[in-house]
Structure formats: C-alpha cells, structure tokens
C-alpha cells in the first residue's frame, strides 16, 4: 500500500474545556488538491496551523509521507504555506522573497537564480524581481507568496483562504489559475476556505468541517449530490427543504410523503433510513424544470401545478419563486425564451428523481458538546 502524502490521525485540539478540533481522520493522496471547508470557527485554520507546526495538537498525530511529524518544529517539516494576508516580507524585493527558502537550503546562488526565474515566469511576474511588495497589487502579492512557498519544493502546500482578500473578478480568475498552477507542479495541496463553491470547483476531494468535527469527506460531486448530513446540505447551499416520511423504498428509489401533503420520488446512492422513518428532503433549484401549465410531462412523479410569484433576471440565470400548494419553491433556470415566465403565470413544475436529496432526520444538526 502506498503511503498517503499527508495523514491526520485522531487529530484533536482543545483549549481548556473548548474542543476546537475533534478527532479528525483523513488521508490525502500525493498530488491531490484537497479542500478543508467549513464556516468560520469550524476549526479549519486550527487544523492547518497544527499541520504547519504553528499550533500544538492536544492529541492525535500528523504523518507526512508516512513519517510522524507531530512534534517537529515548523522549519523541519518541509511544508509550504500561503496566508490569507500573503505575509510577503516587506523589507525584501520580489526576488529575495521567492529566494528566501532556497537560500536556507544551501542551494548555490546560480541554482537559486534559475529556480526563481522559472517560478516568476510561471506566476507571470518576470521583470518584477526588483520590485518591493508595496508596489505590487493584491493579486501580484498573492502570486509572490505562492512562488515563495513552492520554491523549496514542499511536500505539501498549505493555502489558508488565499483568495478571500481579492475582489470578486480577480478571485474567479485566480481560482482557475491556481488550479492549473497546482496541476502543473503536482504539489499536494491543502486548501482552507469558507467558500463552498471555491472548494467544489478546485478540489479532488473536500472535507466538510463543522464545530471541529468531520461532517463528510468526498469528491465535490459526492458532497454536493449526496450530502451526508443536514449541515453539509445547508452549507452547500441547498434550498427547497421539506420534511416528510419515507413511504416506500425500491432499491435506490425512495418515496417520501412530505408533511405538506405531496409525494416525492428520489433516487439516492446511499441511505441511512428505512420505510416509515422521518427524513428531510431537498429539491435542487437547478434540477427543476418549469413549463406552461398546459404542457404535459412524460413522467407522473415529481410533477406539480403552481404559479410564479417572483422572477428575477440575473443575466445567464433566471431565478423563479414558484408557489406550489402554498409552499414556495426556488427554481434556477437557464435564461432561454422557453424558461421566461411573468409573475403570476400558471405553470407546471417538474424535477427528475436524481435532483432530490434525502437525508435521514437522525442525521440532523449535531448536538454540540
């Protein structure tokens, strides 16, 4: 069995009676882009700091390439780190910033030059060698921080919300750039963020953290398509939440009678509930189709009559709010002529069983210790 690049075993951090990180277990494969996502205060930065050696864990261990590094000082771990505020050395120019880690490793000045040149080329900052940090924009500073962190070939690159200080457009651009940069270098990367869409679009695997505990680990698709808990579903931005009771299960096909009186069919990949048990149901807004009420659908399930109560025009996307049986449902539709409905128009809405997420009510919001 090949060892993972980074492994956390029962990693726990307590401050007095307060448990900030509780028994986190995870393996990160070599070359992987791994995201740690959770709301603020969920312990994600504490985990990152423990991996970096800036915070001492209360218990548990950290393994890098199969070797225990839990007690090592930060400088002996061979990791790269980019902080949210970039932490560029203000007294050094761009070249010296990037060369900082290399020079500490007895690399000849010639090799330092080659490496710095190559990295500045990759991050698009050739020609900025002699500039000082305060002459650089936020995006440029961030790329210097990244080049500096990867220069000594770290075993794992740790990124602490590196995009959050950038404005929206730049953030989107940097997101894609960051991913291709990482794919080029194949450096195992751990990315900490509170932004679920960043985590989903960048990562090979995502760990969702809540109150210091692991809620779910999986691919972005697994996390979004089959959230393991109410928390994950909420955090991933799922709306159209209903409660109900399971009435029938046929293999992976599940029937749920909602408390508001409708029957909903869902197709689930994993389930933790049986017939007769209470569940929560989410209908993904993007999985819902809207059509004129006269139209007929081939399917007889998940098809309801309603009316549009609100419709907002957002360019590529249309956001409708439909009223179905006195209940409001959010719908995202691609902005095409057949999807445009005026407020008050009678419609038929329909969604495929794969667009429904069912979570056992027992997996509800965890009780905090």
């Amino acid at each position: 069995m090949s060892t993972s690049a980074l492994q956390l075993v029962d990693l726990t951090k307590r401050y007095g009676k307060l448990t900030v990180v509780s028994q986190v277990n995870v393996s990160i494969e070599r070359g992987e882009f791994f995201s740690l996502v959770g709301p603020s205060g969920s312990g994600k930065t504490t985990i990152l700091r423990m991996i970096a050696g800036l915070t001492t864990p209360t218990s548990g261990s950290i393994l890098l390439d199969g070797k225990e590094i839990t007690g090592l000082p930060p400088e002996q771990r061979g990791l790269g780190l980019v902080f949210q505020n970039y932490a560029i050395f203000p007294h050094l120019d761009v070249y010296d910033n990037v060369a900082f880690g290399l020079r500490l490793r007895k690399v000849s000045e010639g090799d330092v030059g080659t490496k710095v040149h190559d990295l500045l080329d990759r991050v698009g900052l050739l020609g900025c060698e002699k500039k000082y940090p305060h002459h650089l924009s936020g995006g440029e500073q961030q790329r210097v921080a990244l080049a500096r962190a990867v220069a000594p070939n770290p075993k794992v690159l740790l990124l602490d919300e590196p995009l959050s200080a950038l404005d929206k457009n730049l953030r989107e651009e940097m997101k894609f750039w960051l991913r291709s940069f990482q794919e080029d270098l194949r450096t195992t990367t751990m990315y900490v963020t509170h932004d679920q869409s960043e985590a989903l679009s960048l990562s090979d695997h995502v760990l969702v953290l809540n109150g210091g505990r692991v809620e779910q680990i999986g691919t972005p698709q697994e996390i979004y398509e089959s959230p393991a808990s109410m928390f994950v579903a909420d955090f991933m931005g799922l709306t159209n939440r209903f409660s109900g009771t399971v009435t029938a299960i046929d293999d992976n096909r599940v029937q749920v009678r909602l408390t508001i009186g409708f029957d909903v069919t869902a197709i689930v990949s994993k389930r933790t509930f049986g017939v007769g048990q209470p569940v929560n149901v989410f209908v993904k807004p993007e999985a819902i189709s809207v059509m004129e009420s006269a139209a007929t659908t081939a399917s007889t399930v998940n098809s309801f009559e309603g009316s549009i109560v609100q419709s907002s025009y957002e360019g590529a996307l249309l956001r409708h709010k439909a009223l179905v049986g006195g209940h409001q449902i959010d719908i995202y539709a691609i902005n095409r002529s057949e999807n445009r409905f005026s407020e008050g128009s009678k419609v038929r809405i329909y969604w495929a069983p794969t667009g429904v997420v069912v979570i056992g009510a027992d997996d509800n919001e965890r009780v905090e210790e």
């Binding site: 970096a52 050696g53 800036l54 000082p73 930060p74 400088e75 771990r77 990791l79 790269g80 780190l81 902080f83 505020n85 932490a87 560029i88 050395f89 203000p90 007294h91 900082f100 880690g101 500490l104 490793r105 000082y132 940090p133 305060h134 500096r148 962190a149 000594p152």
Partner: protein, 291 residues
Amino acid sequence: MIRIFRENRTVLLAVPVLVFFTFFFIVPVFTLLALAFNPKELGSIAIKPVLTIENFKLFFSYPVYRQSLINSLWLASVTTAVCLLIGYPVAYIIARTTSKRVQAFLVILVFSSMQIDLTVRIFGYLTILGDNGLINGTLIRAGVLSRPLPLMYNSFGVIVGLVNLSLPFLILPLIGIIESISPDLLNVARLLGCNRWKGFMKVELPLSLPGIITGVLFAFAISMSSYLIPVLLGGWGRAVLPVYIYQQISNQGLWQRGAAFAIILLMANLIVVFALIRYYSRAYAKRVLVA
C-alpha cells in the same frame, strides 16, 4: 502664503503649534547662536552687532573642554548601546505579549521610574551605589569584600544613571514597531526553514530597524545633554560638556562662552542624528517597513 490658507483651511489648525515652536524653540536657539558669536562680557546677555569666533577657539584650545566633549560622546554612546541591549529584549517581550492587561502592566512598569523626579531618583542611586550603600554595604557585611567597590563618582555610576534616564524613551518606540510586525511573517519564515533565532534575525530584526533608530536617537540625545546625572553620580573625574556650559554661565557669568559651548554640544548631537537618519534612509530608501 495667503492662498494656501484660503484653499486649505485645515492649515490654520497648525498655526498655534507654529507660533509656539517659533517663540519657544526657534527664537531661543537663534538667540543662543547669535550670543555664541559675541565677544565675552561678564553678566551680559544682550546681543551685540560684533562678530567673533573667540569663544569657539577657546573651547578647542583647552584640552579639558575638548576632553569633556569626548567624554560626553563616549558616555552617550555607551549608554545608548547598553539601553539597546537591555531595551530591545524588553520591548520585544512587551510587544509579543498577547494579553492586553499584562502588556499594559509591563508598559506602566517601564515608565514607573519616570513618575519620580530625576533628583529624587539620583539620591536613590546614591543609597544603592554609595560606599556604604546597599550593594557595597551588603557585600562587606557578608565578608565578600573588604573594601567598597567603586560604583560611583566614575563612568560606571554615570552610565547606570543615564541608562535609567533614557531606557523608557528607547523602549516605547520599539514596542510600537515590533507590535506592527505581523507574527505571520515569522511563521512563514519558519516554514521556509528558519529556526526561531534565524527567523528573528532575518525578519523581525530588520523590520524593527525604524524603531531601533528612533529609540537610539532618543537615548543618545537625552544622555548627551544630561547635566544632573554626570554631576551627581560622576563627580569631576570625567566632566561632561553640559557641566562646563553650566559653569561658564552660572559660575563665570560668561553667557557668550556658555552659548558657544552649547552650540558645540548641539552640533555634535545633530551630526549623530543626521548620520543615523542618513544610514537609515539609504538602507531603506525604497522600502515600506511596516507590513
């Protein structure tokens, strides 16, 4: 000039300060300067339209005066160096104290010595450093010494006094600067391969240079111009320049000579100040030092 005031009324806010500085700082210094170039006249402080460099010539022709300038420079330099050696670690510890309450307490502790009048503090030193003082008395009674150590009426005593006087002025600007250096910078340096000490030397120390320069300037200027401490703790063995300024004016009544000596002291001080500022701006011309 009037246009400046008309276009930018906030300039008016600076007027009281400008008036204050003109009358209480610039005028006296220029009066002193003018007086220094007048021929000596017993008891007179009136400025006369007669120019002479006699007073300056006199200063440099007497070894005792020249020596007093060297003594002043030497004592101020040693004091500043000692202040930096003691003050930097203290400022560092205070700046890196995370508890705001503990930090406030430590700052008050540093400044507590300033709450007491200088003369009273000096007499406090006499009781500690004197031949029958706390240190010598205890050591002799304990049988460690047979004769008292010369802790006073020499350079040692003066330096102890001057360090006590200038230390808070060196520590205060340093605390602010060190506090403004983000701890993340050290964290990043450590992950890149620096141990704690190397990280300090490569990141925190160079970034705290503005605070060091400011603190050194304060400590140097204060100890260079101190009169009371060298007189009461140093005796006449190593007289400093301010002592002779006082002597010329109070004992001899020769204001012109006193003024000339004072100008020499001021010049020596300014040369050091400008040398430091020049060094600082050369080394850091292009850089913003605070993260």
